[in-house]
């Protein structure tokens, strides 16, 4: 895990430095800021040193002082800026994950069991639609829906009156704002997982032991749920861990378009502003979450499949 993170950090740092301009670039075009001001700021931020020097300094600060650096634009420690945002993104990703898996598995099972009926074909249609629609477009469409019907809020995580609500009211307010962004985020993975679930279950249902179980006289429901489903779920459990990673990257887009105050928005703002340490911190956080997600996937698989030894 450590080597992966180190590699990611080095690569990210190098790529950021390759992109033209740095944090102070936009200020160079501002007639009201003199060249000397910019030069002295550059020296202070350490941006005038070679990129590998800056990288080593950054690494040293993390390893020895656990200091992720300071955001250039906000003059605040990177962790202070990122912590609330990470929480918000996790909430969104979790909601989308619940939506994805909560719908994908039953619908996939249904489609497999009722193969070639209208249920199956209908869900295939929905799946292909979900897979092909671009996320940005769907997000904008949902915003339009919200604006036209007023059923959902247009953007944001909580309403203006949030602080005045009771704890239950606050939870409901959050849920209300969560519906559309989570739906947009869940659409593409939902379609994919549903198809996969269906395919896996179909494969398993053809196996000999399923025929044996049926021959033994078990209820169809027991055959499917108790025997077939567990084996069909195996590959999908691995995917569950990776879900966090894909949801995080998908969340970036949804957050910007639907104004969800999460990690994605901060990262993109930092990217445009070339806020070096904020960007590095954000990328490292996302990478860590991704790697942890993979770890969870491996562990889950070990639990679910007795053949695998950790």
């Amino acid at each position: 895990m450590i080597p992966v993170l180190l590699g990611i950090s080095l690569l990210t740092f190098a790529v950021i430095q390759l992109a033209p301009g740095d944090f102070l670039s936009t200020m160079e075009l501002n007639p009201q800021i003199s060249g000397d001001t910019i030069d002295s700021m550059r020296a202070r931020f350490g941006l005038d040193q070679p990129w590998w020097m800056q990288y080593l300094l950054w690494l040293r600060n993390i390893l020895f002082h656990l200091d992720f650096g300071e955001s250039f634009s906000r003059h605040q420690p990177v962790f202070t800026v990122l912590a609330p945002a990470i929480l918000n993104t996790l909430v969104l990703a979790l909601a989308a994950a619940v939506l994805t898996w909560g719908l994908a598995i039953p619908l996939g099972v249904l489609a497999a069991v009722k193969q070639n009926t209208w249920i199956d074909r209908g869900s295939s249609l929905v799946a292909y639609l979900g897979l092909s629609v671009p996320e940005v477009f769907l997000a904008l469409l949902m915003i339009l829906l919200a604006a036209k019907t007023g059923w959902f809020p247009v953007s944001g995580m909580v309403s203006v009156d949030h602080d005045t609500l009771s704890p239950l009211g606050k939870a409901l307010d959050l849920l209300h704002h969560l519906v559309l962004p989570a739906f947009v985020l869940a659409t593409v993975p939902l379609a994919g997982r549903m198809r996969q679930m269906r395919a896996n279950l179909l494969d398993v249902l053809r196996a000999d032991y399923v025929t044996t179980a049926r021959a033994k006289g078990l209820h169809e429901r027991t055959v499917v749920v108790k025997h077939a489903l567990r084996n069909a779920l195996n590959p999908l459990i691995t995917l569950f861990g990776y879900t966090l990673g894909t949801l995080l990257s998908g969340a970036f887009l949804v957050e910007v378009v639907m104004s969800w105050p999460g990690l994605g928005r901060i990262t993109i703002e930092a990217l445009v502003a070339r806020d070096l340490y904020l960007m590095m911190g954000s990328v490292m956080m996302a990478s860590t979450l991704l790697i942890l997600g993979n770890l969870v996937a491996d562990l889950l698989l070990a639990i679910a499949d007795p053949r695998i030894q950790v």
């Binding site: 160079e28 075009l29 003199s34």
Partner: protein
């Protein structure tokens, strides 16, 4: 199998319904308003009293910003999302700029005098001023603010223009309520720029400053209780990436004509919305109370005025211009040992006749029609007409005349010798160049395309090349390897020529077509340098205007840049508010946030 069906779908449906049912509805609560607010705090001996006094107390105004403020510290606030709050909402200076009259007026200082040679200014602070925590605001705060302002390590925003030839002003304390400012030399823009120094509380920030921790003081993680302000508002709460709430400063020194302490509103809320579309939709949904928008949204917002219960104000042109210029840098790149611009192109770009022809070839009216729905105004010089105080109507104009353009090019020796539709210079270099601009700005990309079309009609090949903003900046400030560039500049506030000194001075970093010259490359640039230095040193506004008029004339005559249009600004504000004085300068309504009030006449029909 049959029983598999209901359970997950029922759960899904339940979640959906819960999500739908709970949470915010349209705000239908009635807002209690009153004729006065309980005010047990003593009035200051020298308040600022407005001439109007018809507002009522109560209510909330919701505005938007594009991104989070980076700090609450006015000394290090640099970009708009931050200065929106540090300038005028939370902090004030000795003087303040009036967006409507475009003049500077009293703020924390009630009056001032100047010596006959204008080198010494004496400001009288109002007596009885207090910070939002009740501590007195005196000259000691001003002196402390000046010390921080000129600290080289902090390099406060605005400090560069508050210097005379690099020398800071000298602040001297004369008693508790008088500050004397001595200028190292004559400085015409003094009164316009002194308001850029915001007064900060010594009793709160001095310790942090002495310990070297000033820049993180008043950072956005500072709790509202620790943030002491002098403006009409104090910070009530801040949720990162979501919203900022302000409540009235109980010690504010401004009162309405009926002797009631301002501001009228109980709450001022800003929602943080990075997306322009979301901003528009929020306004249409009734969640926000103001929307600043541009030409492309005009028709849509105008149509729904009655339905949405708001008024659209046509604010006129913004204080800025769009323009494009040719790279006239004749120097050599030390790193590659080659000139920045190839000699053939250098000769073309440096030819005034060529630039004159280009200006004649561009159809500014068409650009306004296509890009700004006919609502933009052509400009021919660096200062747009909306800058009433400084605009020179006597500048030279080269309006659209493609016939003339062709004639000028013919006479200057640019002919199409090989019949490919593109003229060549006498030395054989084709009149072909790339025009860069930043890809994320739709209007600039559209304008670049239209310019290319116009130039094609007269035999000049222009290739629009949009690229990422930082790439453009690198080319303009570092590598200088580009042919032509299209950008725009907005005016500074206050709109004094000193704000664009770096553009006009040949040594300036924003002297786009040939920046940071060691010495002026042409006679007219040397003349402009001389004039700019002279107008800074004169204190008589009429003399400064005359000199700056000449600068504008020289720029329009020598066409270092082809100026295109000024774009219009529009504002939509809910009808239930009164006391609003809309201005095309930011922050369009909230520059006078203390006088904004709910309209008592509208209560009968109002639900919110």
């Amino acid at each position: 199998m049959r029983s598999l069906l209901p359970l997950p779908l029922v759960i899904g449906l339940a979640c959906f319904l819960v999500g739908c049912g709970g949470g915010e509805k349209e705000r239908k609560t009635t807002v209690p308003v009153a004729d006065s607010r309980p005010d047990t705090i003593a009035h200051p001996e020298e308040p600022l009293v407005y001439e109007t006094g018809d507002g009522v107390f109560g209510g909330r105004y919701v505005a938007t910003v594009r991104s989070d403020p980076k700090t609450w510290n006015p000394m290090i606030a640099r970009e708009t999302s931050t200065t929106e709050f540090t300038s005028g909402i939370l902090f004030e200076g000795l003087v303040a700029f009036n967006n409507v009259t475009q003049e500077t007026g009293p703020a924390l200082a009630s009056s001032w005098e100047t010596s006959p040679d204008s080198l010494e200014w004496t400001f009288h602070l109002r007596r009885g001023l207090r910070w939002s925590d009740g501590a007195p605001l005196t000259a000691a705060d001003v002196i402390f603010s000046a010390e921080v302002f000129y600290d080289e390590d902090i390099h406060a925003s605005g400090s560069d223009i508050c210097k005379v030839e690099g020398e800071p002003f000298r602040f001297r304390r004369v008693g508790d309520h008088t500050v004397r400012i001595e200028l190292p030399g004559p400085y015409g823009p003094f009164l316009s720029v002194i308001g850029s120094m915001y007064v900060i509380p010594r009793h709160v920030l001095e310790t942090a400053y002495r310990e070297g921790k000033f820049e993180s003081a008043y950072g956005t993680s500072a709790g509202p209780a620790s943030l002491v302000s002098s403006g009409p508002w104090r910070l009530a709460s801040y949720q990162a990436q979501q919203r900022i709430t302000f409540r009235p400063n109980p010690y504010y020194y401004r009162f309405d004509a009926k002797g009631r302490r301002l501001p009228y509103l109980d709450e001022l809320v800003y929602l943080i919305l990075p997306d322009q579309n979301a901003e528009l939709l929020k306004f249409e949904a009734g969640d926000t109370d103001q929307l600043y928008f541009r030409a492309e949204d005009y028709a849509r917002l105008k149509d729904r005025e009655a339905e949405g219960d708001y008024t659209v104000y046509e604010l006129g042109m913004e204080m800025g211009t769009s323009f494009f210029w040719f790279n006239q840098n004749t120097r050599t790149d030390e790193r590659t040992e080659k000139p920045y611009v190839a000699p053939g192109k250098q000769a073309i770009f440096g030819d005034l006749e060529f630039r004159r022809a280009v200006s004649r070839a561009v159809d500014r009216k068409s650009i306004s029609n296509a890009v700004y729905f006919g609502l933009a105004e052509p400009v021919y010089g660096p200062i747009p007409p909306v800058n009433r105080k400084w605009y020179n109507p006597g500048i030279v104009r080269f309006p659209y005349d493609p016939e003339q353009a062709r004639a000028i090019l013919d006479a200057a020796g640019y002919r199409d010798s090989d019949g490919d539709g593109v003229r060549e210079s006498p030395s054989g270099t084709p009149l072909s160049f790339t025009l860069i601009t930043n890809v994320d700005n739709r209007q600039r990309v559209a304008m670049a395309n239209m310019v290319a079309d116009d130039l094609k009609q007269v035999g000049i090949e222009c290739r629009p090349t949009p690229m990422e903003f930082n790439a453009v900046i690198t080319k303009l400030t570092d590598s200088w390897d580009y042919d032509a560039c299209l950008l725009s500049l907005t005016g500074g506030i206050p709109p004094d020529p000193i704000m664009s000194a770096n553009v006009f001075l040949s040594s300036g970093s924003s002297h786009f077509w040939d920046p940071r010259q060691p010495s002026p490359a042409t006679a007219w640039e040397a003349e402009v340098d001389r004039l700019m230095r002279e107008q800074v040193a004169r204190s008589d506004p009429a003399a400064r205007k005359r000199i700056f008029d000449r600068v504008q004339f020289l720029v329009s005559e020598n066409i270092p840049a082809v100026y295109l249009v000024s774009q219009p600004g529009f504002l939509a504000v809910r009808n239930r508010f009164t006391g609003t004085t809309p201005s095309v300068l930011r922050p369009w309504i909230l520059w006078r946030s203390d006088l904004v009030s709910l309209d008592p006449e509208q209560f009968a029909t109002m639900e919110n």
